[in-house]
């Protein structure tokens, strides 16, 4: 049995991780199909109805309405679209950047390695949240970006992805550097070099395939962390800007109404919690599957 197949069968035996994977796929489908579902139920996430503010759950609004009379269920679905998209996109970008930096540092070594690792150490040693707050508070208009671009909701999304991606690549960089370093002088790599393969070819053919499994584990775990960071920034008013809903900014509206309508604060948080929990269990299960000897969870 190939190592890949062995890992796959180990993963499939981990019921919790498989369950989490199924849950996440379902969540992604629900979020991607949100416009369809809303059309079927005949609800509009942006329809303001001031006569029906803060209503309890009913047949027309299964989870009630918020402070502007908008349907909470529809906004949860829309918010999920945003939160999941930001989480996945940011984690993928961070993984890409981290792998490039890590493999380059580990394989090439020398001064480049020293420089890149100093940079990584420097970024890791910074206080994460205050730094993110400052980056999020920067006025893009002052960077000379055109106003119509700055004003679009897509820009807000791209911006939060860029901000979190900017500080999120370090774990993957360290992991892939360590893997590249340990492979660099193995016999099969030397043999390849002796037959005339250039560094780029060796990195692509021999280093990258061996870096993939730790990177997949770290990236899965980081999706959860990105969702937590995005929701925290949006909660503080610095991430996704209303009227575009995200699970985080729905909660900041709920904080102001915590005495009048505590129920509003429940659902977005439950969704964040379950999603992040599922990504963490999934990442842990993948780690068990790839490296059965590591001392991790068995639930």
């Amino acid at each position: 049995m190939s190592p890949g197949r062995a890992a796959f069968s180990r993963f499939m035996r981990n019921r919790l991780a498989v369950g989490c994977l199924i849950l996440l796929v379902l969540l992604c489908l629900l979020a991607a199909g949100a416009p369809l579902i809303e059309a079927m139920l005949g609800i509009d996430p942006e329809a303001v109805d001031l006569m029906a503010r803060l209503e309890p759950a009913s047949a027309a609004h299964p989870l009630g309405t918020d402070e502007l009379g908008r349907d909470v269920l529809a906004r949860l679905l829309e918010g999920g679209r945003v939160s999941l998209a930001v989480g996945l996109a940011t984690a993928l970008i961070a993984a890409l950047v981290g792998t490039l930096i890590g493999v380059a540092a580990g394989y090439v070594g020398g001064a480049l390695d020293a420089l890149l690792m100093r940079l990584t150490d420097g970024v890791i040693a910074l206080p994460l949240l205050p730094l993110l707050i400052v980056l999020a508070a920067v006025d893009p208009a002052k960077l000379g970006l055109p106003a119509e671009m700055v004003g679009s909701p897509w820009f807000g999304l791209a911006r939060i992805v860029a901000i979190i991606g900017l500080v999120g690549w370090t774990t993957v960089a360290r992991l892939s550097r360590a893997a590249a370093l340990s492979l660099r002088d193995r016999d099969f790599v030397r043999a390849s070099r002796a037959t005339g393969a250039g560094p780029l070819r060796i990195m692509r053919r021999h280093i990258l395939p061996n870096v993939v499994s730790p990177v997949i584990v770290a990236t899965t775990l980081s999706v959860g962390n990105v969702i937590l960071l995005e929701s925290a920034l949006s909660f503080l008013g610095l991430g996704i800007q209303p009227p575009l809903p995200s699970w985080g900014n729905m909660l900041s509206g709920a904080l102001e109404l915590i005495h009048a309508s505590p129920a509003l604060a429940v659902w977005p948080g439950v969704m964040i919690f379950l999603t992040v929990l599922a990504f963490n269990f999934l990442g842990d299960g993948l780690q068990d599957a790839f490296e059965p000897r590591s001392p991790t969870t068995r639930l």
Binding site: R118, D121, G122, I124, A125, L126, P127, L129, P130, L131, I133, V134, L135, A137, V138, D139, A141, K142, L143, G224, L228, S231, A232, F235, L236, G237, G248, L251, A254, L255, I258, H259, P262, A265, V266, P268, G269, I272, F273, V276, L277, N280, F281, D284, P295, T296, T297, R298, L299
Partner: protein, 314 residues
């Protein structure tokens, strides 16, 4: 050892210097510069006045020059005035620093007091029922959005039950600081337990696999004695490193939790100064946060070396 220490401190100083420049530049990119704010508070200012003011405050100088001037003043202890509080920046930071130390110190102690025994117990029988339960708790802890945990505690204890105040440090009149601390401390401690438990458990499992543990058992020592006297000491080393890393937050505060509970600590001060365009205060608080985090990193390195006699520096 000393050379290594000097090297690490020098490196941190360089990172801090670079950060001070980056933050200085970024703060200039935030909405509203000081002159705009003056114009909005006094509409009689003409564009010519604005230009004169800009020159007077040196805002027409290049960024590098302005940063250099700021750095010179800062190194001689002058961080300027806070715009929001109309007082010298260092004076503004004193009270929040005390509040944060109190809050973070209590929360960290509580979290460790709960997580470490649970982690040891879970790590001695990996896969057992207790381990599974502890793991579930740990995963819940690291997956919980901390601001939502705070919100739920407010809903339960302040709104529904009305037992505890939802925000602030003291009610007018004072004397009830402890009651105000309960919810934020609980939030931070619950959020920290997951991570601490996982570290302690992993370190314990790793330690109990060692050959010298088997030797100790083979000598006839009881399991209890082996775990508590031999394994625990060894397993605490990586945990101590992690705790040293977190010590930085004792001074820079918990930005989210402090904001949710309106606890006037360093984290909330950072948030308020950034949001309120208080440039001098934002710079000083951010750099303090960076400095203590860097210091905690160095401390964590040395804690590891000090606790593990096998590590020596040439």
């Amino acid at each position: 050892m000393l050379r290594h220490l000097a090297g690490r401190i020098g490196q941190s100083a360089v990172v801090l210097l670079i950060m001070s420049f980056v933050v200085y530049g970024l703060i200039g990119l935030m909405p509203g510069d000081p002159i705009d704010l003056m114009i909005s508070s006094n509409p009689k200012l003409t564009p010519a006045d604005a230009e004169r003011l800009r020159h007077l405050y040196g805002l027409d100088q290049p960024l590098l020059g302005r940063w250099w001037a700021w750095l010179g003043a800062a190194l001689s202890g002058d961080f300027g005035h806070s715009r929001l509080y109309a007082r010298p920046v260092l004076e503004v930071m004193a009270a929040p620093l005390v509040n944060t130390l109190l809050l973070m110190g209590t929360a960290l102690t509580l979290s460790l007091a709960i997580a470490l025994p649970l982690g040891v117990l879970a790590g001695t029988r990996p896969g057992g029922w207790f381990d599974r339960a502890a793991n579930l708790l740990a995963f819940a802890g690291i997956s919980m959005p901390v601001f939502w945990l705070g919100l739920m505690l407010i809903v339960l204890f302040a709104v529904r039950l009305g037992w505890l105040p939802a925000s602030g440090v003291e009610t007018v009149g004072g004397g009830d600081r402890a009651r105000h601390m309960v919810l934020p401390v609980l939030t931070l401690a619950l959020a920290g337990i997951g991570q601490h438990l996982r570290y302690m458990r992993a370190a314990m499992i790793e330690t109990l696999r060692q050959d010298w543990i088997r030797t100790a058992r083979a000598k006839g020592l009881s399991w209890r004695r082996v775990v508590l006297r031999h394994a625990l000491r060894h397993a605490l080393t990586p945990v101590a490193t992690v705790v040293a890393l977190e010590a930085g937050a004792l001074f820079s505060g918990a930005l989210i939790t402090e904001t949710v509970f309106a606890w006037p600590g360093m984290g909330k001060l950072i948030y308020d100064s950034v949001m309120g365009n208080d440039f001098n205060l934002a710079l000083a608080t951010l750099l303090l946060a960076t400095a203590v985090t860097l210091a905690a990193n160095v401390a964590a390195d040395f804690a590891y070396a000090a606790l593990d006699p096998r590590i020596t520096w040439r």
